[in-house]
């Protein structure tokens, strides 16, 4: 069964024409999104500053209540 599924995908990928170019684009795109952008530019702001939810909550509460003081 598993071999059938693997063969199904394998044959499908091998018989692609436009698809090969598309997979290349998808690969480049995912590399840019998840490796370049996510790792270097889009770190989760709260997780990068605080280790636990309590600290995150305290920080956001502080932000929300002190913004216009």
């Amino acid at each position: 069964m598993i071999r059938k599924i693997i063969n199904f995908y394998k044959e499908g990928f091998l018989s692609m024409e436009v698809g090969k170019k598309l997979w290349l684009i998808i690969g480049i795109k995912l590399f840019i999104l998840f490796i370049v952008l996510k790792l270097f530019f889009f770190q989760d702001f709260l997780s990068s500053k605080f280790d636990n939810n309590k600290a995150k909550s305290d920080y956001v509460l502080e932000e929300l209540t002190n913004l216009n003081k």
Partner: protein, 517 residues
């Protein structure tokens, strides 16, 4: 509020707008074309005519190109939530978590499994199972949109939640209330239907080009009949969903409605501006019409189903209108400030273990929470709470004008196809080709109305952009803005180039394989 970096807010907003608008170039075609393909394949299975299989496979290839290039472009929006809008991300809590998790699971299982069968399964699975897969891809991609739009609907009209003052997060109180919120339901129906309209125009436009070039005429004419029928039904239904959305906007976001219509002073029997040009004036929020074509009572009817109903204008909403029970923005700002101060006091008193005083502050907070976000405008001019009127007005009128044109367009295309006269109608065929970009303009205009019209709110009445943004360096946002611009533009160019190459190539290479099954 000297410490608020408005350049950071503006760049973060611009970046979100850029990503959302680019993402939305790819999505509606996927939503609509998946159904058109499923209908075409149903015709193949029903009739056994291999020409329908050839047609299905051709459009499936174009669907695959759009799907592959568009896939994961939406994930960037989630990156931005965590980095640029961390206060917001924390504040929304599990309200977003649940729908987005369901969306992820649904997208993964339905789309990744059945898309593979849809593309690789010809001649390998039975005709009926293949057809079922195509329908499941269509249903799955549309259901994915449901969960995203439920989350967006909640931002436009937050309900079904309880704010936890200890964690600063909203907690899901009633999942069904969030899911079945009339705002979310209308938004979902209106959005997916608009996708059906765009996909129908896409199919008709490309088919029209083939007819003009006298290539693949049979494929083109059959495709046009399916797309025009589907598009006509969808565009008529779009009128009802649009009407439903307008009524929800009137109920929950009256300022957005006033901005959409350039209505500064409310009135009974309020007119709907069919066509209008707002004048350029240096006075803020006082633009009048240079010329307009009003339909008396039209806006009252659109908003409340009653030609004589009172529709509040921008001035009524900002300054209040006692006669109609509308409280002013200054009063809302006062209540919002009370909520913020009570939350701050609650936090301090709880730390000091003064539970009774903390409970009293919590009561004040809860009584004023409805206007929590207004509190951030304490000491500000309430005019800052007015969305960009011109942009909202023109985007709304472009969307509605084009939507009306699309109904006539589909009717015309269907009529000439059924009369078998379409081949001789060069002007209409050229018009069909040029209607493709108009469909995309209408889509983007729709999102501008939905999102610009509700500014400055990230979550209606609860959280404005100034409170939602993270304290990060604006130069980071500027760099990534241009990075996204470059990546998305490259993707768009790649999509257009690959699509055009495939369209020029046509379905010729598919004939041989289509006769096998």
């Amino acid at each position: 509020m000297e410490h608020i970096d408005f350049s950071l807010i503006d760049w973060s907003r611009a970046q979100f707008a850029l990503t959302a608008l680019y993402h939305w170039i790819f999505v509606p075609l996927t939503l609509g074309l998946s159904f058109i393909i499923a209908i075409m394949e149903s015709l193949y299975v029903k009739t056994g005519n291999p020409e329908w299989k050839r047609i299905t496979k051709f459009w499936m290839t174009l669907f695959g190109i759009n799907f592959a290039i568009g896939v994961a472009t939406g994930i960037i929006l989630e990156f931005e939530f965590g980095t640029n809008w961390s206060n917001y991300s924390w504040f929304v809590g599990d309200i977003f978590g649940a729908p987005l998790a369901i969306e992820g699971i649904m997208a993964f299982f339905l789309e990744s499994t059945f898309i593979a069968i849809m593309f690789f399964g010809w001649n390998k699975v039975s005709k009926k199972f293949h057809l079922l897969s195509s329908w499941l891809v269509a249903i799955g991609s549309n259901l994915s949109a449901l969960w995203i739009l439920v989350a967006n609907g909640w931002m436009q009209n937050p309900l079904g939640m309880h704010f936890n003052p200890d964690t600063a997060r909203n907690e899901m109180g009633n999942f069904w209330e969030v899911l079945l919120s009339p705002v979310a339901v209308n938004k979902f129906l209106h959005t997916i239907t608009s996708g059906y309209v765009l996909a129908s125009i896409f199919v008709i436009g490309i088919s029209a080009w083939y007819v003009l070039k006298k290539r693949h005429v049979n494929l083109a004419k059959r495709s046009m009949v399916v797309a025009a029928t589907f598009g006509l039904i969808a565009s008529l239904y779009l009128v009802f969903t649009g009407d439903g959305s307008a009524k929800q906007v009137a109920k929950h976001q009256p300022m957005k409605l006033a901005a959409m219509e350039g209505l500064y002073y409310g009135s009974d029997n309020a007119p709907l501006v069919a066509i209008g040009v707002l004048e350029n004036t240096k006075k803020p929020y006082e633009e009048d019409f240079l010329m307009d074509l009003p339909i008396p009572g039209g806006l009252s009817f659109l908003a409340f189903g009653n030609m004589n109903a009172f529709v509040p204008g921008i001035h009524d909403l900002v300054h209040g209108n006692k006669e109609h029970g509308i409280i002013s923005y200054n009063e809302k700002i006062e209540m919002g400030k009370k909520a913020i101060d009570a939350l701050a006091a609650y936090k301090t008193l709880k730390k000091e273990n003064k539970t009774d005083e903390a409970a009293a502050q919590l009561k004040i907070f809860e009584a004023n929470f409805k206007y929590f976000g207004y509190g951030y405008y304490f000491g500000h001019n309430p005019h800052e709470l007015i969305p960009p009127v011109k942009l909202s007005f023109y985007a709304f009128h472009i969307m509605v004008g084009l939507g009306t044109y699309f109904i006539l367009f589909f009717a015309l295309i269907l009529y000439f196809n059924l009369k078998n006269k379409i081949e001789n109608k060069g002007l209409i065929l050229r018009l069909a080709v040029w209607t493709i970009p108009l469909a995309y303009i209408a889509q983007e205009a729709g999102w501008i109305v939905a999102e610009v019209g509700r500014q400055p709110w990230v979550i209606q009445d609860l959280m404005p952009t100034i409170a939602a943004v993270s304290k990060i360096d604006s130069s980071n946002v500027i760099i990534t803005f241009f990075l996204f611009l470059a990546v998305f533009t490259a993707l768009l160019i790649a999509e257009i180039k690959i699509l055009l190459a495939q369209i020029k190539k046509g379905p010729g290479n598919l004939i041989e394989s289509s006769t096998k099954n």
